[in-house]
């Protein structure tokens, strides 16, 4: 074993989780290898992509938003229920999200992830791109390194951090995660559309660098379980649909056809008019939440980010990058402590989970553990959005006939399609999933 194959920690995957971990550990003086299979960090990475809780990263990179390739800071959040020809939205906008550290940014991952990996590199980590890690190396039960797909591709370190993304191959090989079921995973497909920055600001009621994130439920994905999203970037829009893989297969629909339909919806089409597609992309998302959480460590190994299923998909929340960063930083701290104590045992690595249990990462996932199943409720997906829109239509319809009171109008619209019993049950489920 030569010294250029020996590190203090090896991080597999230079997404937000891996690069945050590598940056923090390099700053702490550890010898870090950051291994990335793309020709550059971010080359394989796709998400909406909204980065919430941007202050997390500011602990390592104060005021990073002044130089980082972030697109717009989010001041406007919209949740929209789509019927076939109508939409009913909750549209929130605040001036309180306009000041550093902000509440969220839109980003484009190939740019943002590359920038963050470069920060790790500048801090002293060895960034090794164009390199696939095929497996872990063991001594007994202890992970002691990785095998890269190249001649003499063995790299050694007492700690490996698996930040290898949604497919979680390393966690599966280490026996920490099960083979995924099509009900647990969603597929996101997305287009980035070029549109003049001024047009974006006027069209979406934004001032300067302000941005908007809209999540859609209902007809956004026809009768397939899932939802749509539309985010504003500097001079592009990110638009996409996220669909449960099992549901897609069941309905025998293609996700990109749903995306086409979504873009043509009467409430979406005017927003993307004249915007020119510049890239199409796809990615798998582990949206199962708490129920599909893997074991997070074993001797010499920690699992972070998407690889650990740290995606918070709870309807009006759709977060992942902040979970990735927070888990990467927690893993980095665990690695530092382990090195200080010279102890890489399963018990030492298990401190990582305890650290996460004190942070929003595990607390949010646990608290909202009923949300993923609730969001995939058949009626919430395919019945209520249309009914909400119909109810609104009946309330606002003005046709010269006497008006009933609102309660009766709304109740009758709903009751036409759903029994009171079902409504109460769904209301209770919503309450349990999201409210208390």
């Amino acid at each position: 074993m030569t010294t250029n194959q020996q590190f203090d920690t090896i991080v597999v995957g230079a997404g937000p989780a891996g690069s945050s971990a590598a940056l923090a550990m390099a700053r702490a003086g550890l010898r870090v290898a950051l291994v990335e299979r793309g020709e550059y960090a971010g080359a394989k990475n796709v998400s909406g992509a909204a980065l919430y809780a941007p202050g997390l990263l500011a602990e390592l990179l104060p005021n990073y938003w002044e130089e980082a390739p972030v697109e717009r800071y989010l001041t406007r959040r919209v949740l929209s229920f789509l019927g076939q020809k109508s939409a009913l939205s909750i549209d929130f906008r605040t001036d309180h999200f306009t000041q550093p550290p902000y509440n969220g940014f839109t980003t484009l991952r190939p740019k943002f992830d590359r920038w963050l990996a470069d920060k790790a590199l500048q801090a002293g980590a060895s960034l090794i791109t164009s390199t696939v890690v095929d497996d872990l190396l063991y001594q007994g039960e202890q992970v002691i390194g990785v095998r890269c797909r190249r001649e003499q591709g063995e790299l050694y370190a007492p700690i490996v951090i698996a930040a290898d993304g949604a497919n979680a191959f390393l966690a599966k090989k280490a026996g920490l995660q099960h083979e995924f079921k099509a009900e647990e995973m969603t597929l996101g497909v997305k287009e980035v559309l070029r549109l003049d920055a001024r047009v974006i600001e006027e069209r979406f009621n934004l001032t300067d660098d302000e941005g908007m994130a809209t999540e859609y439920i209902g007809f956004a994905t026809a009768n397939v379980k899932g939802g749509g999203f539309l985010y504003t970037n500097r001079d592009t829009l990110s638009i996409g649909v996220v669909t449960q893989i099992a549901s897609l297969a069941q309905q025998r629909v293609k996700a990109y056809e749903l995306l086409d339909q979504f873009k043509q919806h009467p409430s979406v089409a005017p927003l993307v008019r004249d915007a020119v597609p510049i890239e199409y992309s796809a990615h798998m998302i582990p949206e199962g939440g708490w129920a599909m959480l893997p074991q997070l460590s074993r001797g010499g190994l920690l699992v972070v980010g998407d690889a650990a299923g740290f995606v918070f998909a709870a309807g009006l929340f759709l977060e992942g990058m902040n979970f990735a960063i927070a888990s990467g930083l927690a893993a980095a701290t665990t690695a530092q402590e382990a090195h200080a104590a010279g102890n890489f045992s399963p018990a030492s690595m298990a401190r990582y989970r305890r650290r996460l249990a004190k942070s929003f990462v595990l607390q949010d996932l646990k608290r909202y553990r009923r949300a993923p199943a609730f969001i995939n409720n058949e009626r919430l997906q395919n019945v209520y959005p249309e009914l909400f829109c119909q109810a609104a239509e009946n309330v606002f319809r003005s046709d010269g006939t006497p008006r009933r009171k609102l309660g009766r109008t709304i109740y009758q619209t709903m009751h036409n399609k759903v029994s009171l019993r079902s409504m109460l049950r769904d209301g209770w489920q919503a309450a349990r999933a999201l409210f208390f």
């Binding site: 299979r37 793309g38 020709e39 550059y40 971010g42 080359a43 394989k44 990475n45 796709v46 992509a49 484009l108 991952r109 190939p110 791109t129 164009s130 390199t131 696939v132 890269c148 797909r149 190249r150 949604a166 497919n167 191959f169 995924f180 079921k181 099509a182 995973m185 597929l187 497909v189 997305k190 287009e191 980035v192 592009t236 990110s238 893989i245 099992a246 897609l248 297969a249 309905q251 025998r252 629909v253 293609k254 996700a255 990109y256 056809e257 086409d260 597609p277 510049i278 890239e279 199409y280 992309s281 796809a282 990615h283 798998m284």
Partner: protein, 90 residues
């Protein structure tokens, strides 16, 4: 509907000579649900005359196909480092 081929023209691929997707086509022969055909976001799978045809060149590397395949007939791995898809604007 925009054809998928047109969409994929917007994406940069560095195509390796060896495929990173393998399919056990024996298992596909009497498969009547063919989830891979529907879930692949690049439309890479096609059942023609009872025979599963697929290409790997324009794979977006999401992994959805092998998760969806109930028969576990798809053997899917990452392409060689530096090869395959490179997103630039997403």
């Amino acid at each position: 509907m925009q054809p998928i081929e047109e969409r994929l023209e917007l994406v940069r691929f560095r195509v390796d000579k060896t495929a990173h997707i393998r399919v056990n086509s024996e298992a596909c022969r009497d498969c009547d649900t063919t989830p891979c055909v529907y879930v692949c976001p690049a439309g890479l799978f096609e059942l023609l005359g009872g025979e599963m045809h697929f290409s790997y060149e324009h794979c977006l590397e999401c992994g959805t196909c092998y998760v969806a395949c109930e028969r576990k007939a798809i053997i899917w791995d990452y392409p060689r480092g530096g090869w395959g898809v490179s997103f630039r604007a997403s």
